[in-house]
């Protein structure tokens, strides 16, 4: 019986993120490690399943009691930060010409999509946020959190059609911004 109320709005601002959900981070990270410990090595890793699994695990451990969407927001944001940080880290490491990263299969990460440069995308999302914070929220949930439209509609307590329109809007803005170069 999730509580209905303001807390359902899954906007996790950064303060809340940093202050409240250290455990969420930890759980997410641990979850990823647990996978790699060989328990489920055969399973496909992806953001969505990670976020969902983290959610289930957290909910079981009673650290998450409020409601799903709030957690999804936090977890999606966590995923965004993890990935962007990772790319940044990788880049700074590269500059050092290190032994480890040589072994990385760069091709695995190549993509012709505008999202290839995650950092640029991240920055574009940041700019979009200034214009329309709700769109940022939606992009984070959709893109980093991997929520389906139905889940999104539920999490945002909005009609599915309206959420779909906003997602279209957001992705077109972002695409345009990225394909026109950082603007």
């Amino acid at each position: 019986m999730p509580e209905k109320g303001p807390s359902q709005r899954p906007v996790a601002d950064h303060d809340e993120f940093a202050g409240l959900d250290a455990e969420t981070y930890q759980q997410l990270k641990m979850l990823a490690h647990a996978r790699l410990n060989g328990f489920r090595a055969d399973m496909t890793l992806n953001c969505t399943s990670l976020v969902h699994e983290a959610f289930l695990k957290l909910r079981d451990s009673a650290h998450v009691s409020e409601n799903d969407s709030h957690f999804m927001a936090v977890a999606s944001l966590a995923m965004r930060q993890i990935l962007v940080d990772y790319v940044r880290q990788k880049r700074s490491g590269k500059r050092g010409g290190d032994v480890l990263h040589v072994t990385l299969q760069e091709s695995r990460l190549e993509s012709d999509a505008p999202g290839t440069d995650l950092i640029e995308l991240d920055e574009a999302i940041g700019r979009l946020a200034k214009r329309d914070p709700e769109l940022e929220n939606l992009v984070v949930l959709r893109f980093f959190g991997g929520l389906t439209m139905t889940q999104l509609a539920e999490a945002l307590s909005r009609p599915k059609r309206s959420v779909e329109r906003d997602w279209t809007r957001a992705r077109i803005y972002l695409y345009q911004e990225l394909s026109q170069g950082a603007g």
Binding site: K29, H33, D85, Y86, P114, R131, G146, L174, Q176
Partner: protein, 1175 residues
């Protein structure tokens, strides 16, 4: 600064432009996708710039979707890589060099990084080492410096069982690495499986590990991640702990995005994490002690504990796990060496569980202490660890979740009492966790939850537990002590908790403690000041309700105080207001003040309505309560409406088969029976039984009671076979429930059964049942009790009807020997028995004796019973048949002869000389033997009434709570110039047990008017009754109403078992009848009923309808100078509670009684009239 201004403006312009564009874009997206282009062209044709931008945006729809799909796939891959890095990548480093080391083989990867076997190949040493590359990035100098410092500390650790740290640094791309000794060994779990070491080997290994951990602790290093994988055992069986302090090191080097908590980012292995780690709290040596406990658990049982570390309760004992494993046959192979479950039982189990307590403070204070206790065990000395009691377990929870503490304790109580408790327990634990998070703000909700649980978990199931519950109750004292100690800094929670514990004591039947505790809780609420006001009001109501059972006088002002909070609470906290009103309602109901009860229930319903409380469960309870009160008030139609509404609501809310329907259906069934709608009654009661049965009868008592009522209703409808079958089942269930000892209830059920067997003509079976019934009653009733007469009386009837008048006579004599001393000469049942005995004598042709018994008995009965009373009819038959035999000295003229064809069946006799047996005539309806009127009248009155049998009753109102008051005034008497007389006729309440020697009667023939206070029942109540009588008399005297002003020292109070108590010369009679009590299945406080049941005060009697709505009453009777009864609804203290019920002419009389009472009267009328909280 024009430049800046310009930028501002341009930003503003761009922002405005964007806003315009965005608005148009939104509008465009509202259209169906294929129509969008056309639509924008039409819409924005006049704004070419905007239109161009829009078209551009719309054109990006397809590409952007494809791009994001691709980006999503990329992101998934990236997530995989990002989250697995660097462990997976590191595997590819074999052959690479780090510092002076060459990586030779990958040993392991995991959350803590990747471990390689390496050699130092700079030519200086030829040493095999292990190199661990940690995940995370030490990118800044501060972190690097801190890591170095940590490494320095770790390298100081010197213990044979601790793998030494040799070196460390950062890889060129910033990953920290550590170099340690290389240990050639197996992880602990693997070692256990392959070696199957003996218990002693295992324990010795563990002792070395504990020593190592202790030495690290002394050096200020906590391991934080003790687990089998970090404990290698070499080929010589020596343990080597890996990764000491690495966890902390990793925390220091955590990824930049990791939020810093007080403890930093702490990697851990969830399966082996301590509760404080899971909770994200600071981690110290105690965490290692916990993890040592896990290792020991594994060493002993071969497995990890089967529950999460932060789960409430202790893990399953290792010995149990081991036994289970062995049973499952998993321990096959070389098991000879392995520990046996028996060896673990006792000290070892206890030691492990002590190390595994979830509260660090409850564990061993150090690794050394743990080791020492283990050594004590090895030496055969007693260990220090003690098994955890349920209560300390509960308190462990309580400390963590103070708000929910009450809940956990309550749950233990529920568990102890109920077979279905487990489901609730699980459910509530879930709730408890949530509550713990919501903390104090939700304290009230927690409390409601637990009270609700209480209500739902029917404590009647205590029946099924027997002695077991007692041990739990015993530890309540300890729990209370602990509460006071541990929660002293949280007075609000402590107060709540004490109030809850008080309820547990109530359940346990320890009422003194319960009251004391509740008093303490109330004091604490008072001390809280305004903050505690709401809690105070609610608990005051509860307390007053408890207290009112024993001490109405003290309880009254408290209840009033609670009620005074209702208007305030109605606005702010309707739930509490309703709770108070419900308590207050039942408080009134308990003593038969049903009108007042109804007012309060109505008010509660009103508040619920106004507050928009949409709680169906509560609605059902409200309607049910109103229905009960209305039933008691004789407003049967309205009662029916309410109860039916409750039924409909309960059905639609809970479903047609839900247990919550049982109470309502039962009430409807009992109401229908009162209304004489037998078929309807049967239908309701049958459904009650069905529901209780299909719900697994959470309460045997309710079920048996319902079945009993159903059987009797069937009997009333003439369906004897079904009635008999039903009673048989009740008997069987009661027999099973009671065990070999039997029970009082079993005795009474047997008695009911015997009656039907008798009706059925199965005399041998009836006699057998009666024998057993007699035994049961002898065993389970007090030595002196009129109930012992029951089997004798019925046996007499059986003997009489089976043609053994001699034996019947004996039984009736026996019956009288029991009844007369306990009920008094004038009791209806005594007359009935005399008449039956007369019949037995007549059959034996002892006519003079028969006549001398029968005639006065019949006269007395005629006064006391209605014309349709079957016993009265039978007695008339006897007398009628005696007259000719007396006259003609000829036996057999009456109905004693048996019809040879029909055999001895119960018959109704016709009145008069022509009386004869009628075959197939309606049998004598069963009547509760002791539900016959408790007659209280004067001989003179009897005489008058006899002369004017039809006169007298001028007003009679049905009053089902306790009986019937008949105000009678004989016109004939008036004509003769004699004062009008009063007959006070108190029908004993259905289900009432008339206790030994405390018959209540009022004899108006006494020269003096009397004030009588009689308490019935237990000795203390008897005494209380006396006190009340005195009190009443005092009140009258103080009011100047003492008739002849006899000074107090001349009052005579006779407190004798079977005498009335007189305070002479005062004209009031107070009868304190503590009869029944409220039965309301959903009431928290219905443990009162339990208590009374235990005290033996409520019975299922012969054919008694076991009402769910037994009322209780303290009855006061006031008579005026002409002995006319003025209503009787006193509380025994001279206060008239049932105001507004008096007719106008009566009110004057009431006001005569005393100014004191008058004041009460006026005040109460004011309240009824709209003043005060109930208006």
């Amino acid at each position: 600064m024009p430049a800046e201004e310009g930028r501002d403006r341009s930003t503003r312009d761009s922002s405005e432009r964007w806003t315009r564009l965005d608005r148009a874009f939104r509008a465009a997206l509202e259209q169906e996708a294929p129509d969008r282009d056309r639509w924008v062209r039409a819409q924005y044709a006049d704004q070419p710039e905007l239109l161009a931008a829009l078209l551009e945006l719309l054109a990006a729809d397809g590409p952007s979707a494809r791009a994001f799909d691709a980006a999503g796939r990329y992101l998934d891959r990236l997530a995989g890589v990002a989250l697995e890095a660097p462990e997976r990548q590191a595997g590819q480093l074999v052959g690479a060099r780090i510092g002076p080391y060459r990586l030779e083989a990958l040993l392991a990867t995991g959350g803590m990084g990747a471990v390689y076997r390496a050699v130092r190949d700079d030519g200086q040493f030829d040493q095999q080492v292990a190199i661990k590359i940690l995940p995370g990035w030490a990118t800044d100098d501060t972190t690097v410096a801190r890591l170095k410092a940590e490494r320095q500390i770790l390298s100081n650790l010197q213990h044979p069982a601790i793998t030494a740290l040799l070196d460390g640094g950062e890889t060129p791309d910033g990953y920290p690495y550590l170099v340690t000794e290389f240990i050639d060994g197996q992880p602990l779990d693997q070692w256990l499986v392959e070696r199957r070491p003996t218990l002693e080997t295992r324990l010795n290994l563990f002792l070395r590990v504990a020593e190592a951990v202790q030495s690290a602790h002394e050096a200020g290093v906590v391991h934080r991640d003790l687990k089998p994988a970090n404990l290698l055992v070499d080929s010589e069986g020596r343990p080597h702990l890996l990764d000491f302090g690495i966890a902390k090191l990793m925390a220091e080097a955590g990824p930049s995005w990791a939020p810093r908590t007080a403890t930093g980012f702490t990697p851990m292995t969830p399966e082996y994490a301590s509760p404080e780690q899971l909770a994200g709290e600071s981690v110290g040596p105690a965490s290692d002690v916990y993890q040592l406990g896990l290792l020991l658990y594994l060493l002993l049982s071969g497995q990890r504990p089967d529950q999460r570390p932060d789960a409430p309760g202790s893990p399953t004992r290792p010995s149990v796990i081991l036994a289970r494993t062995r049973e499952a046959g998993q321990g096959t192979g070389n098991v000879d060496n392995e520990p046996r479950p028996q060896a673990l039982r006792g000290p070892l189990d206890t030691i492990v569980l002590k190390a595994l307590r979830s509260d660090p403070g409850d564990r061993y204070p150090s690794a050394r202490a743990l080791g020492e206790d283990l050594r004590r065990y090895l030496r055969g000395e007693p260990v220090q660890a003690r098994p955890e009691t349920p209560w300390s377990a509960a308190w462990r929870l309580a400390r963590h979740y103070p708000v929910a503490a009450a809940l956990s304790l309550a749950l233990i109580a529920v568990l102890a009492m109920s077979a279905v408790g487990l489901g609730l327990y699980a459910q509530a634990l879930e709730m408890q966790r949530n509550e713990a998070q919501r903390q104090a703000a939700r304290a009230a909700a927690t409390r409601d939850t637990l009270l609700d649980l209480f209500r739902r978990a029917d404590p009647l199931q205590a029946d099924t537990i027997g002695g077991r519950a007692a041990t739990v109750w015993d530890s309540l004292d300890a729990a209370v002590e602990q509460a006071r100690r541990e929660l002293s800094d949280q007075p609000d929670i402590l107060a709540e908790l004490l109030a809850t514990l008080s309820g547990l004591y109530m359940n346990a039947g320890q009422h003194d403690q319960a009251l004391a505790l509740m008093e303490e809780a109330i004091t604490r609420f008072r001390d809280l000041g305004p903050e505690g006001a709401d809690g105070l009001a609610v608990h005051l109501a509860e307390y007053a309700k408890f207290l009112g059972e024993q001490d109405r006088e003290s309880a009254d002002p408290l209840m009033m105080e609670a009620l005074a909070a209702v208007p305030r609470l109605a606005g702010t906290d309707p739930a509490s207001a309703i709770a108070i009103l419900m308590d207050a309602g039942y408080y009134a109901y308990d003593v038969g003040l049903h009108e007042q009860a109804l007012e309060r229930f109505d008010r509660a319903a009103q508040i619920a309505r106004e507050a928009g409380v949409d709680d169906a469960s509560q609605q059902v309870e409200l309607l049910f309560s109103q229905g009960n009160a209305l039933t008691q008030l004789g407003q049967w139609e309205t009662a029916q409406e309410r109860l039916e509404a409750a039924l409909v609501l309960a059905e639609s809310t809970f479903g047609p088969g839900h247990q919550r329907l049982a109470g309502v259906l039962s009430a409807l069934g009992n109401l229908a029976k009162r209304k004489g709608e037998t078929a309807q009654s049967i239908a309701y009661l049958r459904r009650t039984v069905d529901i209780l049965e299909s719900n697994n009868a959470t309460s045997y008592h309710s079920l048996l009671s319902a079945r009993n009522n159903l059987a009797l209703a069937l009997g009333s409808a003439g369906r004897y076979d079904e009635a008999q079958r039903g009673l048989r089942e009740v008997v069987e269930l009661r027999r099973r429930l009671a065990g070999p000892e039997g029970s009082r209830d079993l005795g009474l059920a047997l008695k009911s059964l015997a009656t039907y067997l008798h009706l059925d003509g199965d005399f041998p079976a009836a006699l057998e049942a009666l024998d057993e019934s007699e035994q049961m009653l002898e065993r389970h009733l007090p030595a002196v009790s009129p109930f012992h007469a029951l089997p004798h009386f019925t046996r007499g009837l059986v003997r009489l009807d089976s043609g053994s008048p001699g034996l019947a006579d004996e039984e009736f004599r026996e019956t009288l020997d029991i009844l007369v001393p306990t009920l008094g000469e004038t009791h209806y049942q005594v007359h009935v028995t005399r008449c039956m005995r007369a019949e037995a004598l007549r059959v034996q042709e002892a006519f003079p004796e028969a006549s001398s018994l029968a005639l006065p008995a019949l006269e007395a009965m005629r006064l006391q019973a209605g014309e349709d009373d079957p016993y009265l009819q039978r007695c008339r038959d006897t007398v009628a048949s005696l007259k000719p035999s007396v006259d003609q000295n000829s036996p057999g003229a009456g109905g004693t002869r048996r019809d040879p064809e029909t055999g001895p069946v119960p018959v109704r006799r016709k009145v008069g000389r022509d009386a004869r047996f009628e075959r197939g005539a309606p049998p004598i309806p069963l009547r509760p033997v002791f539900a016959s009127p408790v007659q209280a009248q004067s001989t003179r009155q009897q005489h008058d009434a006899e002369q004017n049998p039809e006169s007298g009753v001028v007003s009679a109102r049905p009053w089902n709570g306790i009986g019937r008051h008949i105000r009678s005034r004989s016109d004939d008497e008036d004509r003769r110039g004699q004062p009008a007389r009063t007959v006070v006729r108190c029908h004993a309440h259905q289900g009432q047990r008339v206790p030994a020697g405390r018959e209540v009667w009022w004899n108006s023939e006494l020269e003096e008017h009397v004030a009588v206070g009689v308490g019935r029942g237990l000795p203390d109540q008897h005494r209380r009754g006396l006190e009340k009588g005195l009190h009443l008399a005092e009140g009258l005297e103080a009011a100047g109403q003492g008739r002849e002003g006899i000074p107090r020292e001349q009052w005579r109070v006779r407190d004798v078992e079977r005498d009335q108590v007189r305070v002479r010369r005062y004209r009031a009679v107070g009868l304190g009848l503590h009869l029944g009590l409220v039965q309301h299945p959903d009431r928290l406080l219905h443990q009162q009923r339990e208590r009374r049941k235990r005290a033996g005060r409520i019975q299922h009697l012969d054919g008694f309808f076991h009402d769910d709505d037994e009322g209780g009453q303290n009855l006061g009777v006031v008579v005026d100078d002409t002995d006319t009864l003025i209503d009787g609804d006193f509380d025994g203290l001279g206060r008239i509670h049932r105001r507004g019920r008096f007719a106008d002419d009566q009110r004057d009389l009431v006001e005569l009684v005393s100014p004191w009472e008058q004041a009460e009267f006026v005040e109460s009328r004011g309240r009824v009239g709209g003043r005060g909280v109930e208006g």
